[in-house]
Subunit: 212 residues, 2 copies
C-alpha cells in the first residue's frame, strides 16, 4: 500500500464525521463537491483521497452515504474496540479520561498511570490511577494498543522510550515538544499553540485583505 | 490572495516549529527535503506551500533558517500579541489557562468566563473567572481577538452565537460537535477522537500490511 500522508487521513476523518451527521438525518447520497467543501479541499482531491482505497461512488450518482461511511470506518480502524491508557493523571489526563467522545468511537480508556503518590487510586470514569512502575508490565501483557501521553514535557521522551520498549505502536502526545520514536511507531502530537496559529493566520490575512 | 487550505497552514506551522528547533541548535540553512520529511509531504509540496507567499530560498542553496522563520512567523500572524479569552472554566479550560506554550507564541490568556457561581473568582495563572454575562460586553469593548470554547456541547452553539454577535472573528472549539459560524469567522475544532483515528488508521494498515 502506498504511504498515506497524515493530512489525507485527517480528511478521511472529516469526511466520515460529515457522512455520519447527514446519515443520522436520513440523507442517502452525497457528492465529492459536498465532501470537498467540508474538508477545505477540491472535489478532485476528494476523489483522489478515496481512490487510494479502491473505487467508491458512481459517476453522476455520487456516493452512497451508508456504504462510504462503512468503508471509511473500516479504513480508519473503527470497526473494533481499542484499549487506551492515559499516562499522566493531571488536568488534561483527567479531562480526557472523562471525554465521552472516545467510547462512542470504540476507544476505551482502560488504564491510567501517574508517578505522584497523591494521585494513585483516584478514580476517573471507573478507572483507578495506578503507579507508573506497572506501565511497562501492563503494556507487555497486551493490555493496551494505544497510549495517550499527558505528562510534563521534561518527562515525555523518557515515557515514550518506556512505551516503545514495551511494544506500544501508537501514541497521542499532548507534550509541547518534538519527541523521537522509531519508524514503526506512529506518534501524533496535539499542539494547542499550532491550532491557535491557524486562527491568527486567518486574522492576519483578513487585515491585509482589507488593507490592499 | 488565493484561498489557503487549513492543511497548508498546518504544514506552515510544522515547518516553523522545525525551523525554530534547528535554529536554536545553530543550524543556518535547510532544504525543502528536510521540511518535507517533517511535514509528511513532498519537497514539491513544500515549495508550493511557500510559493503562495512569495519567493523564498535559492536553488541549490536551500533556505536560510532565520529568514524563513521570520517570514513564517509573519505569515502566521505571530509578530504580535493576541488577547485570548477562555469560555468555560472546567477541566480543559483550566488546563489551557495554565498551558505555558501559549504565552511563548504571543497568545495571552487575559480572560476566563463561566456560568457556574462556584467557579467565579477562581484564579488561573493570574486571571480570575468572571461571570459569563459580562462576555458580550467585554468582546464588544475590544478586549479579545480570539476565544477558546471549552463549554459542554449542549451550550456550545449558543456561546458561539454570542461570540460572533459581539464581533469575535476567530474561535478555537473543544466541543465535540459541528458548530455553525458565518463565512467571515474562522472556527477550528480540536477533536480528540479524530486524533485517535489517525493512530488506528496506522495500526490497522500495519496489520493488513503484515497479513498480505
Amino acid at each position: 500500500m502506498k504511504r498515506i500522508a497524515e493530512s489525507t487521513v485527517r480528511r478521511l476523518s472529516i469526511y466520515l464525521s460529515f457522512l455520519e451527521e447527514i446519515g443520522a438525518r436520513g440523507v442517502l447520497t452525497t457528492s465529492s463537491d459536498d465532501l470537498a467543501r467540508l474538508g477545505g479541499t477540491t472535489s478532485a482531491q476528494v476523489r483522489k483521497d478515496l481512490s487510494f482505497f479502491g473505487s467508491f461512488g458512481k459517476r453522476g450518482l455520487g456516493y452512497s452515504v451508508p456504504e462510504l461511511s462503512a468503508h471509511l470506518r473500516e479504513i480508519l480502524g473503527l470497526g473494533r474496540k481499542w484499549n487506551v491508557c492515559i499516562v499522566g493523571a493531571g488536568k488534561i489526563g483527567g479531562a480526557l479520561a472523562r471525554y465521552a467522545g472516545f467510547a462512542e468511537r470504540g476507544f476505551n480508556i482502560t488504564g491510567m498511570y501517574d508517578s505522584d503518590p497523591h494521585k494513585l487510586g483516584k478514580m476517573y470514569s471507573g478507572v483507578a490511577v495506578q503507579d507508573i512502575v506497572h506501565l511497562e508490565r501492563d503494556i507487555k501483557s497486551g493490555k493496551y494498543q494505544i497510549a495517550i501521553l499527558t505528562v510534563p514535557p521534561e518527562n515525555a521522551q523518557n515515557i515514550v522510550d518506556i512505551l516503545v520498549g514495551a511494544g506500544i505502536k501508537a501514541i497521542l502526545s499532548f507534550a509541547p515538544l518534538q519527541l523521537t520514536t522509531p519508524p514503526d511507531v506512529t506518534l501524533r502530537t496535539v499542539n494547542m499553540a499550532m491550532e491557535l496559529e491557524g486562527l491568527t493566520f486567518a486574522l492576519t490575512k483578513r487585515s491585509s485583505d482589507q488593507q490592499y
